[in-house]
Symmetry: C2
Subunit: 215 residues, 2 copies
Amino acid sequence: MTRTALTRDDVLDAAAALVRQLGPQALTMRKLAAELGTAVTSIYWHVGNRESLLDALVERTVHEMGAIRPAGRTPAQRIVSVARRLHRELRERPHLIAMVHERGLTDRMFLPAQQALVHEVHAAGLRGARAAEVVRSVQYQVVGFVLVERNRDRAPVQSPARGELWDSRTAEHDPALARALSRPADPEKLFETSVRALVSALLEPPARTREADPN
Amino acid sequence: MTRTALTRDDVLDAAAALVRQLGPQALTMRKLAAELGTAVTSIYWHVGNRESLLDALVERTVHEMGAIRPAGRTPAQRIVSVARRLHRELRERPHLIAMVHERGLTDRMFLPAQQALVHEVHAAGLRGARAAEVVRSVQYQVVGFVLVERNRDRAPVQSPARGELWDSRTAEHDPALARALSRPADPEKLFETSVRALVSALLEPPARTREADPN
DNA sequence: ACCTGAACACCGTTCAAGT
DNA sequence: ACCTGAACACCGTTCAAGT
């Protein structure tokens, strides 16, 4: 069972597996070394230190995010399809995505998808700063959802123990709503609804609700 | 300068200040003790351990989030006003909010706001599961934005050094868009645009883009 | 070029001991 | 009831030393 010489890639692979399952805080240099069957200090020779090891994982993740082909007939459908694909890609490695984001590389990671989005937004007739705003809004929506969901499933028991919160006044007028809100959300469905709503409204000509507000 | 006896609240105050400015990872029991001028072990007597100290901070944050009065004429305006107020409240303590979220207490924290939102969504004519979906969608949008922004400003230099990314093809057809995308986003404006779009579309009668999709 | 153990500074936490 | 220092197990990291 003696392995061939330890490789930088061996280290990255083992580290990535750890981070992907348990998050970055679970990655300790000493456990990593144990897993690889070497001395802790060998790792330092290959990757520098813990911080640049994480940097390398992030770099990898950014490169793994490839282009995404839009699907659908209308620009709205095609934009939603890109968002949905992004969302699914990111959901599979939420910890790595959070690390990418922490390091300010989100824009770089989104570049290929961003170009696809720009194309579709153009097809929908938008230009300039307005088009950029739409692209960014979709991007924020996707990343925001992934970050929300990442933390969601780190917290095993959602706190307002079922029903407890909503059996007072609301339950009487609208029991279906009370029931829905006391159940855990279906993130996939919620994302779908939200991104469809967002995109369809963003592609419409002008803002409607424009007036001075006191907040 | 000798202080009166150390209080549990003293500990929480000092800890909250640390977390609020520098994030939870900056809170070490030993630094906290140093700041308070006591032995590390005194802190343990007052708060148990680090984990329950953080729990207490979260508990506090949840209680600090009070009700929010909607403002505006139409339901859409009033929902947006609640979202905007939530967004601003949360933005002032992004680390604490992230901790609340990690511990699965987001729903509990949002409870007062959620009741206001339910009221407005009812006023807009929605009921049952559909109404719950709208409330949750807005809530996800707000929390998502805060989490995105929290990480944004932890990462000082946004990576795609200005312009570098967009001076190729796109810059020629649509230089205004290229310029906009190479500048850092204005989060407040982006939130406003996104939440208005989301709400206005969610309040409209049916979903429009409904058809089988291949993704 | 690659790997090692010893050593350092820093954690969180426990515990017996003080007042 | 409150506070203390010593001690333990665990970190990341450096370095001189091996092959």
